[in-house]
């Protein structure tokens, strides 16, 4: 029996180390779990067909692009992450819009490039393109509510630190800057109670964005300092857009506008190129 247990432990270790080596496994696991959580407990309008369309279109586009550009075949993992991200945030009642968003997201990886690297976060680009160009897509910032999710995401964030994957510095810089700005605006200036601020910051969509969208290692600056400045810039922009233009999906737009600056940061502040498999 103990031999069996030993085997069990060994196989766990093998699988564990394979899992940890590639940061994308972790992301797929968390995003997938989150999607499942939404479908089961929040009864989200996450029809299976929409998620499947996102997955299929993303992976097919990625494989075609990879064959064309000669990228690693394991890049289907990146496509899966993008598809899951889209499934979590973007809605449309038109299937063509779903396909369009997924296609544009992945195509942007191969078409909009600078110095051998894509510029836009694919999921972010797909969302913006679908909303701005089709008029048939939308993001529901309130859909995740403001509850247990908080705990879930902090769990995820802590794990990210522990596993030394992802770019937690960008997340922290973004969320801390936004929190400080919101604190001064909401509590100090406007005079709302603390629970208003907590309610804003326990918003599932905001946390999802913070820990999974702006942490994409390829489209964030290579230099650590640059990443911190970049994250703070997105926060300032998002804060302005939401406070004075009443755009409820402000962070997504802020990231879109800040993405091209990554190339600039990479030019002036050097850093190591990110490798998915460590």
């Amino acid at each position: 029996m103990s031999a069996l247990m030993l085997k069990f432990q060994q196989s766990l270790q093998v699988w564990g180390s394979v899992f940890i080596k590639d940061a994308r496994h972790f992301q797929i696991f968390y995003l997938g779990a989150f999607l499942l959580f939404g479908i089961i407990f929040l009864d989200l309008q996450s029809e299976l067909s929409r998620i499947l369309l996102f997955l299929l279109t993303c992976i097919i586009t990625q494989l075609i692009g990879a064959a064309w550009r000669g990228a690693s075949p394991s890049s289907w993992k990146s496509a899966t992450i993008t598809a899951l991200g889209l499934s979590l945030l973007l809605y449309s009642s038109n299937f063509w819009v779903i396909i369009f968003a997924a296609f544009v997201a992945m195509a942007s990886k191969f078409l909009i490039r600078f110095q051998g690297k894509h510029i836009f976060n694919p999921g972010n680009f797909g969302i913006i393109a679908a909303i701005a160009l089709t008029g048939e897509a939308w993001v529901s910032p309130g859909q995740w509510g403001s509850d247990i999710i908080l705990v879930y995401f902090f769990g995820a964030a802590a794990l990210m630190v522990l596993l030394k994957v992802g770019r937690i510095d960008t997340s922290l810089s973004f969320i801390i800057t936004l929190f400080i700005l919101e604190y001064f605006r909401t509590i100090v200036y406007l005079g709302w109670d603390w629970d208003v601020l907590f309610h804003k910051f326990s918003n599932g969509s905001l946390l999802l964005f913070t820990f999974f969208m702006i942490t994409d290692p390829v489209t964030t600056p290579k230099n650590k300092k640059a990443r911190i400045i970049w994250g703070a810039m997105i926060a300032v922009l998002a804060f302005g857009l939401s406070q004075w233009f009443y755009i409820y999906t402000a962070p997504i737009w802020a990231l879109f506008f800040a993405a091209p600056l990554t190339a600039l940061f990479n030019h002036y502040m050097k850093g190591k190129t990110f490798q998915w498999i460590q």
Binding site: L4, K7, F8, S11, I40, F41, L42, D43, Y91, S92, S93, G135, E136, A137, W138, S140, P141, G142, Q143, W144, G145, S146, D147, Y189, L190, G191, W192, D193, D195, V196, F198, H199, K200, N203, F245, Y246, Y248
Partner: protein, 478 residues
């Protein structure tokens, strides 16, 4: 073999079953009149940055005590303020409310017949007493400025701007508004956000001239990027739960809340026949349960449909006549008109909010989502007559199963302890000729509520299976 024949509808008297009261600003009563803002109704029209808000006045008290304060983003012109007929609210409520639908089974041993019925429950109007109240002048020392003053319909209306909340509070008290002690904490953020205050009292003279015995709904119109409803002020004088029904009209599709979850109310459920006389109570309980299940912090979708003049089907079935040109105009939908007019999309939201669960005002967005939705509950009447043929016997067994599911559904939706459920399920069992007429026992209790659990169970079973298979394989290899 179950030919479902016809439909009947009944209005969701659920709403009239709920306490009907106030609005999202706050009602302030003078003297000792005790008021609870239990329920309010609002019509929202949003087209670009044009917003029309119509607020219902189910004020129950002495008319001279009526007063209302609503934060608005701009100083309104006289032409932007109107009073409308109360009828529009009853009309929209009757049309979009949760509905009970009835179907009739046909007897498989007999020929087919058809039935059609239609019924509605009337709503009661609020009756108020007569009296009046005038405003006092503005006061520069208090930092309160009267930006505009109008008399519209039976109301005296002021638009105030203020520089600090204490001054505004003092001004309101001096003008005989009974302000909750904690109101200035809430007024402060609105003042800082550069919002103005739309302050309303009744003009007795005009009120007496009008023939109505109730206060008309007030409609305001303005252009602003912000699309929200200020609920925080209404919670200043109440820690309890308040209900608000929002009827929204847009060009493109559903509206949804951006800072709280917008959840669909459970719909298309088959429920037992004995629920019919208690439908109002049923819906009230169902709503309460959904509200609790969603952590008391969700906004519920009760109806969503394209109601454009050209659109053919507007509900399935309709519980009242659909809004047409006259209602659109009254509500402020100025783009509707003609047979090839543009889309008018109707959303009905129901929110029950409380201070602890809804710290932020409700903000909304218009989405391109035109998917239809309605809260719909289904009754199916059994066939009557002789069931001795084979198909008839099979029908009776199906009926038993169906009724068992209806009871399960009822329990899942309301937690009602249905005492006569056994009799209901087995009502026709004595007409079954064979012995297999026992109460069928399901594998899983309460099927309706356990789907998530079942999925989790399956997933974990798969996981365990996979690990076991792996271990066995590794062992055999070793």
């Amino acid at each position: 073999m179950k030919t479902k024949i016809f439909i009947i509808t009944l209005l969701a008297s659920a709403l009239s079953a709920l306490q009907v009261h106030a609005f999202c600003g706050f009602y302030v009563a003078k003297a000792d009149t005790k008021l609870f803002n239990n329920k309010s109704e609002v019509i929202l029209v949003r087209d670009g940055d044009r917003t029309v808000i119509t607020m219902s006045n189910d004020f129950k008290g002495t008319v001279k005590d009526f007063a209302m304060v609503v934060p608005v983003p701009v100083v309104l012109q006289e032409s932007q303020i109107r009073v409308v007929n109360r009828r529009i609210f009853d009309f929209l409520d009757a049309y979009s409310g949760p509905r009970l639908v009835e179907y009739y089974d046909s007897n498989p041993c007999q020929p087919v017949f058809e039935v059609e019925e239609y019924s509605r429950v009337a709503l009661t109007e609020a009756v108020a007493e007569n009296s009046s109240m005038k405003f006092l002048a503005d006061d520069a020392d208090l930092g309160v400025k009267v930006e505009a003053e109008y008399t519209v319909g039976e109301y005296n209306i002021l638009l105030l701007s203020a520089t600090e909340s204490k001054g505004l509070k003092t001004w309101l008290i001096k003008n005989e508004y009974k302000i909750p002690a904690t109101a200035d904490e809430v007024l402060e953020p609105y003042i800082k956000s550069e919002m103005k205050f739309f302050v309303v009292k009744v003009n007795l003279e005009n009120y007496l001239k009008s023939d109505t015995d109730y206060l008309s709904p007030i409609q305001i119109e303005f252009n602003h990027d912000r699309f929200m409803l200020p609920i925080r002020l209404g919670m200043a004088n109440s820690n309890g739960e308040q209900d608000m029904i929002v009827y929204a009209f847009t060009r493109s599709g559903r509206i949804e809340c951006t800072n709280y979850r917008t959840v669909k109310i459970p719909t298309d459920r088959n429920i037992p026949l004995f629920v019919e006389p208690k439908f109002g109570e049923f819906y009230k309980t169902l709503f309460q349960k959904s509200y609790e299940q969603n952590g008391k912090r969700a906004v519920f979708l009760e109806y969503a449909w394209d109601v454009s003049t050209g659109s053919q089907v507007k509900c399935d079935p309709c519980v009242g006549p659909p809004p047409v040109q006259r209602e659109f105009q009254e509500a402020g939908v100025n783009w509707a008109g003609g047979w090839n007019g543009e889309t008018v999309f109707f959303t009905r939201l129901h929110v029950r909010y409380s201070r602890s669960k809804f710290p932020q005002d409700l903000t909304f967005q218009v989405t391109p989502n035109r998917e239809r939705f309605q809260g719909r509950y289904i009754l199916t009447h059994p066939a009557s007559g002789d069931f001795s043929c084979d198909a008839g016997q099979e029908y009776l067994r199906d009926l038993q199963n169906r009724r068992r599911k209806e009871i399960d559904e009822l329990i899942a939706l309301t937690d009602w302890n249905a005492r006569h459920s056994y009799n209901y399920i087995n009502e026709f069992s004595n007409r079954l000729e064979d012995e297999k007429n026992e109460f069928p026992i399901g594998l899983l209790p309460n099927g309706g509520g356990s789907t998530p659990g079942l999925i989790l169970l399956l997933i974990s079973a798969l996981g365990v299976g996979w690990w076991t298979a792996r271990l066995i394989r590794e062992r055999s290899m070793a």
